[in-house]
């Protein structure tokens, strides 16, 4: 099957038209043949009747004269030859067309006074014989008509009907071809409009007078384009932000290294070098976070296994004992034990690490950080909260944004931690909400994960 709409439509329309025409042709041919046959019979009978009446002397001349019925309408009809034989009722030949095949006279007498046009074929293959017995005038007339003359008549009629159609069909094909072509023009305009675009132009397509059949396509394209546009914008903003964020620790390294190089005070030199190391650590952490985020975005499949949330929480807290002690913080795990989720273990640990790090960072000296795990039939709940300064309602909306840092953030950070958590929660099919922390203070991060069913994450 061809893939061109134009070819297909043209072909389909032409085939249907040809089919309808063929049916019409056949039916009119039949009709014509029938009509012509009736007309022919009437004519032959009339001729026979005339021959029955004509005087014997005239009869011979008439028969000779009319044995050729010329057809002068100019077409190529086969000559409608009729031959005659006139006898009296005793079988005595009165007159006969020349070239008449020797045929035995029909003996069967017809009822006197009754005109009978007997058009039965009388055993002679090439000729149809019409017989009229006129008892009143003592005549028996036989009219011979060539067998094939009826068929010739039919063929002629058919040709006359078919001839205009033979011309009309190619003309119709051309007209249809052109009409379909012009109807498909909007598609061509659309494809030209799309082809003329470069990669940077993702504006929506605005075509004047788009037909109803094409506008869903244009609409769908526009939806896709605007989505692409938005995602490209996000990507660009992310790259710009990432470059910006990477430059800051680099600037710190350079400045501190230059201080170390120029100062003559060994204590200052040492301090500057310590700060260089600190800045390198910071950029390493940033690079790791960026890489992690990129991996999460790539959606590389990760095998999910049963993970005890509370166990991971305890490990995570144990690893931060020193930090917590230094700040005088109380870290704890509460809630149900053996809360199990199915997830890649690395995801769970990264998620908890980021949340607890944040909580420790923003908790005030002597404050509390709490991890709560809870198992309900509908969901698994993980809550990390502190009683620090908290985050304003306004800033909470943007906490998961990449590189977002609260306006009054005094702590250094990449601004990526919570966006990483949000991506992981998204991949685990969970829901992340920000609430108030402990005793109406601080920040609480609530993660609701679907009940486990063994599966590999997309």
């Amino acid at each position: 099957m061809t893939t061109s709409i134009r070819q297909r439509l043209t072909l389909l329309v032409l085939v249907s038209v040809a089919l309808v025409w063929a049916l019409a042709l056949i039916s009119s041919y039949r009709q014509a043949i029938h009509e012509a046959g009736e007309w022919d019979d009437a004519r032959i009978e009339q001729v026979a009747r005339t021959l029955a009446l004509v005087d014997v002397n005239d009869l011979v001349a008439l028969v000779n004269e009319t044995s050729h019925v010329s057809d002068d309408d100019g077409d190529d009809d086969v000559s409608r030859r009729l031959l005659y034989e006139v006898r009296d009722l005793n079988g005595q030949l009165l007159a006969a067309s020349p070239g008449l095949p020797g045929l035995p006279p029909t003996a069967a007498p017809s009822a006197p006074g009754k005109d009978a046009a007997n058009s039965a074929t009388a055993g002679v293959p090439e000729w149809n014989i019409h017989q009229l017995r006129d008892a009143l005038h003592d005549r028996s007339v036989r009219v011979f008509e060539r067998n094939d003359s009826r068929a010739d008549l039919g063929a002629g009629v058919a040709r006359r009907i078919a001839r205009p159609l033979a011309f009309a069909l190619p003309v119709l094909a051309l007209v249809i071809w052109a009409a379909i072509g012009s109807s498909l023009a909007p598609l061509k305009i659309l494809s030209r409009a799309i082809a003329a675009r470069n990669v940077d132009n993702l504006e929506t397509i605005d075509l004047q007078g788009t037909p109803a059949e094409v506008s869903p396509l244009v609409d769908a394209l526009n939806v896709l384009l605007s989505r692409l546009h938005a995602s490209l914008d996000r990507e660009r903003a992310f790259t710009a932000d990432a470059a910006h964020e990477l430059k800051s620790p680099l600037a710190a390294i350079k400045v501190q290294a230059q201080v170390a190089l120029t100062t003559r005070d060994p204590a200052k030199q040492r301090l500057a070098m310590q700060r260089v190391v600190e800045a390198v650590d910071r950029s390493t952490h940033l690079a790791e976070q960026l890489l992690l985020l990129a991996r999460l975005d790539e959606r590389i499949p990760a095998a999910a296994i049963d993970v005890h949330l509370d166990t991971v929480a305890r490990e995570c807290i144990a690893a931060r004992g020193a930090d917590a002690l230094a700040k005088g913080l109380e870290l704890s795990v509460a809630g149900d034990a053996y809360v199990t989720i199915e997830a890649p273990p690395a995801f769970v640990r990264i998620m908890l690490d980021n949340l607890v790090d944040n909580a420790i960072k923003y908790a005030e000296a002597g404050g509390r950080v709490e991890i709560v795990t809870r198992q309900t039939p509908e969901a698994t709940l993980l809550l990390v909260r502190d009683n620090g300064r908290g985050v304003t309602e306004q800033d909470r909306m943007r906490l998961s944004d990449r590189f977002f840092r609260a306006a009054d953030a005094r702590q250094s950070g990449t601004g990526l931690g919570l966006s990483i958590v949000a991506r992981i929660v998204d991949r685990l099919g969970g829901k992340l909400t920000y609430t108030t922390g402990i005793d109406g203070r601080g920040l609480g991060v609530e993660i609701r994960l679907p009940p486990s069913s063994r599966h590999n994450l997309p």
Binding site: K247, A251, A252, K254, V255, Q256, K268, D408
Partner: protein, 220 residues
């Protein structure tokens, strides 16, 4: 000369502060836009070194505010966002110079000096005053071809008086230009520096105007 450094990144700020101090400038460090605003309303600075990505009040907003109150203090912007569009935007908004991160500390100091020099209407770094030649960048002072050993503080006081020739400067003003927020100032520090300068460069070089302060008369 007192400079306000506005930068939220501790690691960058501490290095810049150190570098500018080494260059003989007095540095106050503001961590965010609000703090900088407060500092600018209470203290007179000869230069602001400004980071644009600041918490609370962005550098751009601070710059708008500063220029909005017709404050002509030179502003050097340092930022990681340093595309041509960013630079043009910053300069149009009223910055006097633009430095992209990461930058060279020596370049930052040189640009700061250039801005300070231009603010005082000088086109070269070297200050000449009668038989004195002062090189602020190296803290070298020669008098009649002879190198005079001055401490950095003494040199700073001298440069301060030289840049305001003919205008008496109060003790408090000199002190302010000599010491940052965190530095302890002894009550008679300025007097000590002035007396040392007189000892080294000649008694008549700095005049005391009682009740007003100190002045170096305009070189004729």
């Amino acid at each position: 000369m007192r400079v306000l450094l506005v930068e939220d990144d501790e690691l960058i700020a501490s290095g810049v502060e150190e570098g500018l101090r080494d260059a003989g400038l007095t540095v106050d460090w503001a961590h965010d836009g609000r703090e900088a605003m407060l500092a600018l309303t209470t203290t007179e600075y000869e230069l602001v070194v400004l980071d644009l990505g600041l918490p609370k009040l962005s550098g751009t907003e601070l710059l708008d505010w500063l220029r909005g109150r017709r404050d002509d203090t030179p502003v050097l912007v340092m930022t990681a966002r340093d595309t041509v569009a960013d630079r043009v935007g910053g300069l149009t908004a009223g910055a006097d110079d633009y430095l992209g991160k990461p930058f060279d500390l020596s370049e930052l100091i040189a640009r700061c000096r250039a801005l300070l020099r231009r603010a005082h209407g000088r086109s070269t770094e070297t200050i000449q005053y009668r038989d004195l030649i002062v090189e602020p960048s190296t803290f070298t002072v020669t008098q009649g071809g002879l190198r005079q050993p001055l401490t950095s503080r003494e040199c700073a006081v001298l440069i301060e008086l030289l840049t305001h020739q003919g205008t008496p400067l109060s003790r408090a003003r000199i002190e302010e230009n000599l010491y940052g927020w965190q530095e302890e100032v002894e009550s008679n520090a300025v007097e000590v520096h002035i007396s040392n300068l007189r000892k080294k460069l000649g008694p008549g070089i700095i005049k005391t105007i009682r009740g007003v302060g100190y002045v170096m008369e305009k070189a004729s």
